[in-house]
Amino acid sequence: MIEIQNLTFTYDTGDSAQHPGIKDINLSIERGTCVLLCGQSGCGKSTILKSLNGLIPHFHGGDKSGCVLIDGLNVDDTPMFCLSQKVASVFQNPKSQFFNVDAESEVTFSLENQGIAVEAIDNLLGETIRDLGLEKLINKSVFHMSGGEKQIVAFAAAYISTAEIVVLDEPSANLDADSIGVIRGILQKMKQNGKTIIIAEHRLSYLAGLVDSAYYISDGCITQVLDGAELFVLADTQRKALGLRGLHVDNTLDLANCVITPNAIKKNQLIVENLHLAYGKNLVCDSVSFSADSGEIIGITGKNGAGKSTLSRCLCGLHKQKSGTITWNGQKLNMRQRRHMSYIVMQDVNHQLFADSVLNECMMGIDDVNTLDATAILKELELHEQSEAHPQSLSGGQKQRLAIAVSVVANKRLVIFDEPTSGLDYKSMLQVSGLIRKIAESGTIVLIVTHDVELIQSACTRCILIGGSEI
């Protein structure tokens, strides 16, 4: 049904460092099967997916050779709107794939574009809402939805479409365990309905039992083909060598066996007492209390909406607490003082990079810093070679390291990470984990807000569950 023959593609923009392209891909996918593309970041998974849904060559320019046939149609010769009737797509970033303002329009969007009759659309919509349990979600506006809900709507749009092929590019990247459960259910239903599913993913655990065959991609080529069942019984050592994330859902945090112990040089202590957080009249967090010492890395986890982000913003001094105190070495801190000594590495690092070069970013606004110090820190974080590059031209991981560099230069004693590893492969996750431990060693208190169990296990000394009891 889908045939990829000798496909080679290189992007023609300056992105070639981040997206090296693919070489000599030969792939054949049967109708109704579920195929997984896995591999490390930048290996070419997304490129293959884009070749399937037509974005390559119709949207992204580049050098293409070989051909992609979908039901006998050559992708190069078929206009996008025809392809969209055969291939539905779900992307990684829920924010920027939502075209409409409310869920219902978004779900029926692809059908409306085809000019399908109103009654037919109404019927299909009714079926979809029943099948996927979307009653509560369907009337929400995009501005009131969480990332997980937006992604579920994107899935619903793919489910309802007439397309028999669904292409998904890391759809679980920013989702919590509950949302992932929901999308697994939707994928199961899609498979039952006979849709062909091609999915590129890092987080593999939720796909167990769904995948028929898996292709491991490395440096733009398919290096291994595994049967779905084979993949999920891979030994841990093999899996880690391939750079893949955990294959089994592991919701138990085994911190008793945690090897990480705090290694403090300077003794600072942060005490949070009876913190109540609210947005206007809505109470978000109730009576949060904990303490943290220098060198500790504390994971903050919990369901979406439990108040993790609010808590981290409050600790940084960006949100005023309703009641409760935050004390640093015995001294109560007001918002301004908290802002002065803390830093948050945001989920979308693009919001916090301002300068026109990496070096300037480290030096901007910070008094008493000279070029030598800044360069030394950049060297430590492996950003030295990009000193003159624009922060926005760096890769995601590099941008994250730059934000961390800024916090080090500014001598921030409390650093909070907001979902630092969402969408990262195993190796990158370990890199981030190593980096976080390095920062903690210098005496900084680190808090990580995350859903990533593997990160918590590899980096955190302690874990706090918001919306439940403290561990």
Partner: protein, 197 residues
């Protein structure tokens, strides 16, 4: 990628997004309308802020019709605000068309872009305060009837002559050139380096 000269969906979407930014620029510039004296600077401020956005539209969508599509949203916005703003709406249409004509020959030439933008901003500098300057007496009497203190109105009346109007238009033209220059320097410093434009 198949480059055609006709506007495609991607171009319409890009224009739509930049229209949203343009509306924000308009909102920021409206702050100048607090006092009638500073309101003379309103159009210049808008020209300055909008320059970067106009430039980005020209560069990212180098196709015929981009400016027209970019103006659709401000047009709809102005038209829905009342009869005085109908003149504004009408002049956006005219100025957008004129800009298109100027850019028809060569969309990449920086002088042409600057001239096109200068023409474009005249929509707001000429027709924005059309009522005020062409019918000053009606405007001032209205103001007094609405309750503004007569002394202040007399002070404003002194401003409402063709000389001030010409000055405002000239200042806006200057500001539009400044806006484009600002846009270019932002592009050079940041956007080119970031690989975004």
């Amino acid at each position: 990628m198949k480059e055609t000269q006709k506007m495609q969906s991607k171009d319409f979407i890009t224009c739509g997004i930049f229209s949203a930014l343009s509306l924000v620029a308009l909102m920021i510039a409206t702050v100048a309308n607090i006092t009638p004296y500073t309101s003379l600077l309103y159009t210049s401020l808008y020209a300055l802020l909008n320059g970067t956005i106009f430039l980005l539209v020209c560069i990212k969508v180098p196709k015929s019709g981009a400016i027209l599509v970019f103006s659709v949203v401000p047009f709809a916005f102005m038209a829905s605000r009342g009869w005085e703003n109908m003149i504004l709406a009408g002049s956006i249409a005219i100025c957008a068309l004129l800009s298109e004509l100027i850019l028809k020959k060569n969309r990449n030439n920086s002088t042409r872009i600057a001239v096109a933008y200068m023409v474009y901003t005249t929509y707001i500098s000429i027709s924005g305060s059309f009522g005020m300057f062409v019918f000053p007496d009606v405007y001032c009497n209205n103001a007094i009837e609405r309750g503004i203190n007569p002394t202040i109105v007399e002070g404003i009346r002194g401003l409402l002559n063709y000389g001030t109007w010409a000055g405002m238009i000239a200042l806006t033209a200057l500001a539009s050139v400044g806006g484009i220059a600002l846009g270019r320097s932002l592009m050079k410093k940041h956007l080119h380096k970031a690989g975004v434009a």
